[in-house]
Amino acid sequence: MDNKEDEFLTRLKNTFKIEADEHVQTISSGLLELEKNPGLQEKGQILETIYREAHSLKGAARAVSLRDVEKVCQAIETVLSMLKKDEIQPEPLTVEALMDSIEGVAAMISSNEPIPTGELLQRLSKISSSPKGNHYELEVVVDSAQSNETSTEEREINKTKTPVSVPEPFEGQSPKPLQQDSLNVSAHSQAESRAHSLVSAQHNEPRRAVQSETIRIKTSKLDALLYQVEEMVSIKMASNQRASDLRKLKSSLDSQKKQWLKIYPEVRMLRNLVESEEARATFGPSRSYLMKMIDFLESNEITIKGMEARLKNINVMAENDSRQAASMVNDLLDDMKNVLMLPSSTLLEIFPRLVRDLARDQAKKIKLTVEGGNTEIDRRILEDMKDPLIHLVRNSIDHGIEQPSLRTQVGKTQEGSLTISISQVSAKKVEIVVADDGAGIDIQKVKQAALMKSLVTEQELKSLDPKETTSLIFRSEISTSPIITDLSGRGLGLAIVREKVEKLGGMVTVESNLGIGTVFRIQLPVTLATFRGTLVQVGNELFVVPTSNVIRVARVKRDSIGTVENRDTITMNGRILPLVRLADILDIQTDPMMDKRSEFVTVLILGASGQTIAFSVNAILNEQEVLVKSLGRQLSRVRNVSAGTVLGSGQVALILNVSDLIRSAMLISGTGLITHMEKPEDIERCKSILVVEDSITSRMLLKNILESAGFEVKTAVDGIDAWSVLETANFDLVVSDVEMPRMDGFELTAKIRSQENLKNLPVVIVTSLESREDRERGIDVGANAYIVKSGFEQNNLLSVVKRLV
């Protein structure tokens, strides 16, 4: 029994956590709004909402006997009720205390452990017990009010400067301006009236809880429903197939009928002939056989006529059914997708807090404007967009918006502005804009970095317009540091943003004006569901390539394939493209004789992340709509594969990940594939290093560090991969991670040491393992250096590497 009760309590607590999360989220968003000094009416609404939320939270906490949470909520409620009654004002310190308290509550709930609440309670009770505190802090208030006023003025200038055109918020709803409401009564009217006209629409939905008729359903249940509805698509396709089969059957019957009509006169003549008197003598006994045959032919015709009529009926019905099924399934699927749509505010509501914290950490002043929380987007897209958006916002704050002092120097307002807006651009597309009025991206530096990495040639650079040049920052190879600021990580991060967006079937672009600001635009489909895929055959297997990545398909003559440095290449539109067999990348056995037999090679030219590579396949079958399906947790991420889909035949096919394919192709043929053609031969061979690392982030990081120090770097994903690379090329040094699949760094080192021609090759082990045993083991197996990642600095690594080579 005890057990059951415990179980119940655990379940209850879990439910409470979900509920509490929502309350906490709403309360803290409300507090943030409050911090922005809203107008009187707005303030009332906000206070009402958070007061109600705090009250519910308190009640819920009591139900699961979390006394501490309850107590803090009680204290919060007291302060809020005083605020409501206008007994005290929402001064920064008060809001801060409320904020900290609600944060404390969140921490208590998520950690399940008691957290000392004394200090929080004290702060809250101090506010509620001493209305005098108001006057005590009045000076501070006046100050902040003044700075508010000036910043409002500056915003005016700023607003006209910002290169972002901010779309009007959701139609049909007049934007609710959350005016800058100053606390200081004298400044109040002035600031308010100005703010009214200037700051249109911040959060255009001030926490007015939309109380509509809703029920709560587990997402897993909805997903199960979606799967079933999606499965109906194959029924739709099958029914379509049956109808067309019947149509074919009928047309073959029609042609049979034509033949019968052609031959019918002959049959009639034959009958007359056989029935005539003289035939008795001519045919003898076989006359009766002939008669039977003619009878049969004629009765056959009658049967066929009957069948034809029935077939015609069935055919019409099947077509009707198929049409009906199609429209029902389509409607059902559309409705189902609608069910899965959530207002994007669920994604946006994390940002006010995030921006506030980041800005505070970096001592920057930032005003965040969030728009379009009403736009509905598929839940799965919202989930997948969370990280990329956080990344872009972080970027804007880290690298974009300048320090207040610097901003004043260049004639901008102290307070930087950051806008995140989501708007529906068409029935099936939404656009997310992340815009700041910060320093912008220095195109010259991007160019330099791109040249340095040999991603482009001088000539190519000249042909690129500024926008295209700026887009180079999405290339993962662009070393991050030379661009804009000294904070690294930007290049790779943007590459990941791009990959995620492209995976969702969207695209991301950037516009930037040096000194004025940067705008990232992400276009996304509203629903995941279907996209166009190209069905290709490799060996005997079928794969789907997202059509958005297919630049073109072609058949090239086998003898037109040239080799450069032993690698196959083809010429397409005057450009030399590397040619890689898709079967090699996917480890699929194909009959080499089959390959050689044909005079032509079928080629799929794929592009992703700004790279273009040609892949040879056995056949390109067709282009069709495909439905993306996850491969499940066990296959969390498979190299070169992004998801699965079910073809019309019911067969499962894999959807290939084009970014991965291109990276794999580069690994197979070494780096700098596209450019090694145009690259001038290095006269002096630079020292080459093999980086062995399974995590892509660390691998790119190491590669970047070493390449910018002038080394030639090749990469391998684990020990086995490294070993095969070592067998084919010479290196001056190996940098290896420890923990890797298949063969770890220690094994690799030991293997290198055991090989006669490699035993003197320096090996640097870079790892997160900081135990003494591991260090000793590293030395035991013969590593020359052991660098722990936690204390891992660029200079440290470089000095070690330089010493060893």
């Binding site: 297997e541 969390s636 894999l654």
Partner: protein, 183 residues
Amino acid sequence: MDKSENNKGATNSSEKNAILKQRALALAVPKEKAQTESQSIQVLVFTLGTERYGVQSETVREVCPMRQVTRVPCVPPFVIGIINIRGKIFSILDIKRLLNLPESRSQNQEKVIIIGFEDIELGILADDVCGVQQISVSDIQQDVPTIRGLTNKYLLGITSDRLTILNVAIFLSDQSIIVDETV
């Protein structure tokens, strides 16, 4: 149940009835080891090669005949491929390989057992599925010194009639069966 049908074959219907009755009686005898629910667990029994294995019924989502499987490139060899069951894709693992059992092909139609624990669901390939069995907890021996390696890692216990019961929770929580690789 089939009496009426048997009666149609008039000649030796009484004989048939006798046989059927005998069988019914044999089946009706309660298994000696069938116990009350609290002291026993329900196990789905299947065969791998010549041996019998079991997984707790509550971890089994579904059993179905093996169907056309799509091979997945760039995964470890223990992943046989993926199949589609009612619109959802499941990966199928070669449990024989994971348990280091000798490879063998089944004479019968192979079966896929979909097992799940928390947020992970996948299929394992069994040579045949024998059915569900109640097993007394007291009959499960937990430490068998001769069983080592992976079987031991995933072992829940062994019964007196040599049924090896696997611990699905441990098996599915094992990070080494998860494929999570980037290029």
